[in-house]
């Protein structure tokens, strides 16, 4: 038995909002692989739960008229990985979430929950910030859209106001078009582990495939929330596809990150991994884009 005081099952997005308004202290539960575990640990003991798990209207992936990839938040990690549109336009996300936990967990964990829990080590986080994901949030006053960069507020804190929930993740066409990416999860075990560092790199090459037209580098666990290596990205723009450029990237990202020491790894070790994953991720992305180093 879970130590909960009540369970309210939402029948629609509108109903979920009404339930959140009626029970402001209640926690929202999607797949439950964070919430139910916190309850087991006693952290949320006695909590009321509002379940949105049964809202199949919040599952699936499609393409909007403007070309944006629309990922619905209750889509499980394994369904993200298997989805043809993800495989075609955004394969790096499928690869990233294929490294979350273990196989059973990937069947229950949701892409929306991975962002809404505000955790820096979330395996989709680095890739979502690296593709400038836009988040559609629905609440009592209707819908609003904001950038994922404004969504993360701090460890475990996101920009959801009372009675609001995430109803779609939108990947703009300019983020995925002609773009090739690579995600590295560095962890101590090959499965069932939390990232020491997650690094998601993606590149757009010049038409002659000789220089970097655009580079984006997202990190998990390199700071309190998933973040971007903004200055390194700018400095890499226009650089040739050479070993020197890769070495430069490993150094340049250091100014953008603020990792810390935890029981998992020291700051120094994390910085080493941050540089190395940038370099390897950049190499892999360039190769996927058809460039030669």
């Amino acid at each position: 038995m879970y130590d909960i005081s009540a369970l309210y099952e939402a029948t629609s997005v509108q109903n979920a909002i009404e339930l959140m308004q009626a029970h402001p202290e209640a926690a929202l539960i999607a797949g439950g692989s964070d919430v139910l575990i916190k309850i087991r640990e006693g952290k949320l003991a006695g909590v009321e739960l509002i379940s949105i798990f049964k809202l199949d209207e919040l599952r699936g992936v499609s393409i909007d008229d403007d070309g944006a990839l629309r990922i619905l938040p209750l889509t499980s990690f394994s369904h993200i990985t298997q989805h043809p549109l993800i495989q075609k336009y955004y394969p790096v996300l499928g690869e990233a979430v294929d490294q979350v936990g273990g196989p059973q967990l990937r069947n229950i964990g949701t892409i929306g929950g991975n962002i809404c829990n505000g955790v820096t080590s979330a395996d989709s986080g680095a890739t979502q910030v690296a593709y400038d994901a836009m988040l559609e949030i629905t609440g009592p006053n209707g819908k609003r859209t904001l950038s994922i960069h404004e969504f993360y507020k701090g460890p475990g804190r996101v920009a959801l106001e009372p009675a609001e929930l995430l109803t779609a993740i939108l990947i703009p066409k300019e983020s995925y078009e002609n773009c090739f990416g690579y995600y590295t999860k560095y962890a101590m075990r090959n499965a069932l582990d939390i990232a020491t560092i997650g690094c998601s790199v993606n590149v757009v090459l010049s038409p002659d495939k000789k220089t970097l037209e655009r580079v984006r580098i997202g990190y998990g666990v390199a700071g309190p929330v998933p973040l971007r290596a903004w200055t390194a990205e700018e400095a890499l723009q226009g650089k040739p596809l050479t070993e020197e450029t890769l070495d430069f990237a490993a150094k340049a990202v250091q100014d953008d990150v603020h990792p810390r020491t935890s029981w998992r790894a020291s700051e120094g070790f994390r910085r080493q991994i941050i540089g190395e994953t940038a370099k390897r991720g950049l190499r892999a992305s360039i190769e996927r884009a058809g460039g030669a180093i």
């Binding site: 038995m1 099952e9 539960i29 139910l36 196989p103 059973q104």
Partner: protein, 160 residues
């Protein structure tokens, strides 16, 4: 405590019962349906001992609310044996390969194996390792378990 009607299909049979909303699917399967192959291990989704198939996919039933099972098709290890207790090929392979020691992780491993085998695909040893990585076994060292799954996979695909 709040109770809720849960109608579902368990091991091929349509069933319904009122469950406590606080129950996990593990609780419901063990306590209401006496399906004790579903083991209570870590209860936080790490060990895989409670694994069951829900609509053909493997889930840790310990972190799945019982009320979510409404309308679902659930399969546990009990569904694999024949009417007179005959073992299925994958169960027999676990016996033959000595993939069982204390046996606590076995039902979970076998249910994930069923999902793997029913995909009808051929996987490499490394892919099988990844597919089985959601289970912990403290006795066998995993090699015999991998052997059992690999051999059954090859047999079913007519490659052995």
């Amino acid at each position: 405590m709040q109770k809720q009607l849960v109608r579902c299909n368990i091991n091929g049979k349509d069933v319904e019962t009122y469950v406590d909303v606080r129950a996990s699917l593990t609780d419901m399967l063990r306590n209401d349906y006496r399906l004790t192959s579903v083991k209570k291990g870590c209860e936080v989704g790490e060990c895989g001992a409670c694994t069951v198939l829900i609509d053909g996919e493997a889930f840790n039933s310990c972190i799945y609310m019982a009320v979510w099972a409404d309308g679902k098709h659930i399969r546990t290890l009990e569904s694999l044996t024949g009417p007179n207790g005959e073992l299925s090929d994958i169960q027999q392979a676990f016996v033959d390969e000595a993939a069982v020691q204390c046996g606590f992780c076995t039902p979970g491993f076998i249910m994930t194996s069923v999902e793997i085998l029913e995909s009808g695909k051929e996987y490499t040893r490394d892919e099988l390792k990844k597919l089985l990585s959601g289970h912990l076994c403290r006795c066998t060292g995993y090699e015999n378990i991998l052997n059992a799954v690999e051999k059954t996979m090859k047999k079913r695909l007519g490659k052995e």
